[in-house]
């Protein structure tokens, strides 16, 4: 095991652990090593997530918030614009309306937070959503909400400000609730990652959300 990569083959998901880790102290690295060793004693669940979360490449709070803001713009457009075009019914329609309003509030809060940090909020991108009916709409909703959870969980440990962290935590909890509600509606597990949600790196998030961003 080197300071650059985690290759402990005792990890539950070794394929997730080989992420580069930058800018962490020797002490925290040693702690992570200790947590990885905990795999033997039944804490295997913790280690891979930790190493992945730490793989975030910094960038400062405003940059992290702007990334989150892009995702919230995407979710808002998806629910409020695409949701209406598709013609939803019943519970799907009710969720799209409720969740759309909540994502809109996330957009407003993140925009304000970026400004407070002295940054410039990203402009609202334009999106393209490859959905045609309720079924494909809900399938993409599941992907977006679960990706949102992973994105916040992955980025949060890199936030410098405890206040911003509190806001991010408050939002990610709501994204997780959305994800579970949508997954239940389409007969999927509300806990797709089991007992521990997987943090995602920016690159992993972009792989899922990127194709939906037109400009």
């Amino acid at each position: 095991m080197t300071a650059e990569t985690i290759t402990d083959n005792k990890l539950a998901h070794p394929e997730l652990a080989a992420f580069e880790v930058h800018g962490i102290t020797r002490a925290s690295f040693m702690l992570r090593g200790a947590l990885a060793a905990g795999a033997v004693y039944g804490t295997s669940a913790v280690a891979p997530f930790v190493s992945q979360a730490l793989a975030q490449s910094g960038g400062g709070d405003a940059e992290i918030l702007n990334f989150a803001l892009t995702l919230e713009y995407l979710e808002t457009a998806f629910y409020t614009v695409k949701g209406k075009q598709v013609g939803l019914s019943g519970q799907a329609k009710a969720y799209a309306k409720q969740f759309g309003m909540e994502e809109e509030q996330h957009v407003a809060a993140l925009t304000g937070a970026v400004k407070e940090l002295g940054g410039t909020p990203v402009k609202k991108p334009t999106f393209v959503f490859p959905v045609t009916d309720e079924q494909s709409f809900l399938a993409l909703a599941s992907v977006l909400e679960n990706t949102g959870v992973g994105a916040y969980n992955g980025a949060a440990p890199s936030l410098k400000s405890k206040q911003i962290l509190g806001v991010a935590g408050s939002i990610v909890q709501v994204e997780a609730r959305h994800a579970a509600a949508i997954d239940l509606l389409i007969d999927k597990s509300p806990t797709p990652n089991g007992g521990f949600d997987l943090p995602l790196t920016k690159k992993q998030v972009l792989a899922k959300a990127g194709p939906l961003i037109k400009s």
Partner: protein, 230 residues
Amino acid sequence: MSQDTEQQEPVAQPAGIVERLVRDDVDRKRFLKAVGGAGAASFGAFVLAACGSSKSSSTASTAAVGTTARSGASTGDVAILNYALTLEYLESQFYKSVIAAGLFNGKVGALLKDFGSQEDEHVLALKGAVSKLGGTPAAKPQAKFPISNAAQVAQLAYTVENLGASAYLGQAGNIQSPEVLASALAIHSVEARHAATLGTLVKKSVTPNGAFALPADMSTVLAAVKPFIA
């Protein structure tokens, strides 16, 4: 669970403030007094802030969360992990009682079984994390949850999971180690998923606080779970 048996015995050295708060009512009251009404006040501010969408409202919301998080400070990661461990022990025992009572079957029964196993995984992970940090894992509290019928149990489960989610959220800003924070976040969103699932079961909102989930500080949560500890 056999690995929990050892935790029933008295621990050689006190594992931290959580155990004292859980066991000692006087200590808990003193702690509540010290913390004061800061938590409640900032919850209110946060709710108000979350209702608006102007720039100033987001200012209020960030400040409120920061204040709430700070009000539970002075503990350290081991104490926070032991606090979470105490809550997970209770949740784990809750689901065991529910499953043993056989009140649910089919899809709901399977979900509750899954949730119970996930709480068990949280217990193991938190115990491991406390040990790795050089701390002594909190002793397993003896839970006593009222289990009478399916409707009452579903409602209680909804309450318990929402409390759990708000407890994790309340500690996020107090955690020092990024590794511990990442682990807590990985658990936090799973508790949120549980809470939302139970919300659909009891026909209540999956997002009871709207767009911004509310944190709860340690004293509030410990007071709320006190009736469920034998």
